[in-house]
């Protein structure tokens, strides 16, 4: 049973890009998606910050 939001979740597609990131999908999207912070926010009817990771941390690229 996978998370229903995978078609539109920007992070899901991000995780698809490298096999080293597959662990996120395996843990959250494909399995424990109810633990995913993004899923919980969406389910609560709130807007999901685009750079929020499933564990609630924010993805921020440090400028070089």
């Amino acid at each position: 049973m996978a998370c229903a939001h995978t078609p539109t979740c920007p992070l899901f597609s991000l995780f698809t890009m490298k096999s080293s990131l597959k662990v996120w999908q395996d843990h959250y999207c494909m399995d424990k998606f109810q633990e995913c912070n993004r899923f919980q926010l969406a389910h609560a009817g709130e807007r999901v910050p685009p750079n929020m990771l499933p564990n609630g941390r924010a993805l921020q690229v440090r400028s070089p």
């Binding site: 939001h5 078609p7 539109t8 979740c9 920007p10 993004r38 926010l41 609560a44 009817g45 807007r47």
Partner: protein, 138 residues
């Protein structure tokens, strides 16, 4: 994005979707003019035909694409009721209101003000009463 906006605006205007009388004719099904005729059903057939073409087009070129789903939600019916009534009164859906503005119809400013106010009001209500968002990704 800009080009499709222009194309949509041109189409809406050329089709008569920004003309109050034409839209009214579409919604009265030509019944107030002595029965449905091809001219009365022009917009209706246009819209219906567009939907059929879109269905066919999506199946042909986008069959496996992940287009965001639109499930039935709490506000689906009530929202549609309000929208339908408003569209019939103003003769404009949101796109048409903008096109009307472009056509120099000053009265469209009133329509647009109403639309923006309505959208703003909905968000306030949504937060106050904890209604769900329609999409989690936009």
């Amino acid at each position: 994005m800009g080009i499709t906006g222009l194309a949509l605006g041109v189409t809406v205007s050329a089709a008569g979707l920004s003309d109050w009388g034409e839209v009214h004719r579409m919604f009265t099904l030509g019944l107030r003019e002595g029965g449905p005729s091809l001219s009365a059903l022009r917009l209706l057939l246009g819209f219906g035909g567009a939907v059929l073409l879109a269905m066919a087009g999506f199946r042909l070129v986008a069959r496996h694409d992940q287009i965001p789903v639109k499930p039935i939600r709490a506000g689906t019916v009530s929202g549609a009721l309000l929208f339908g009534a408003g569209w019939a009164i103003t003769g404009a859906c949101p796109a048409a209101a903008l096109v009307q503005l472009g056509e120099g119809k000053a009265a469209a400013l009133a329509t647009l003000a109403g639309i923006l106010a309505g959208a703003w009001l909905h968000e306030k209500a949504r937060r106050r009463f904890h209604w769900s968002r329609h999409s989690c990704v936009d």
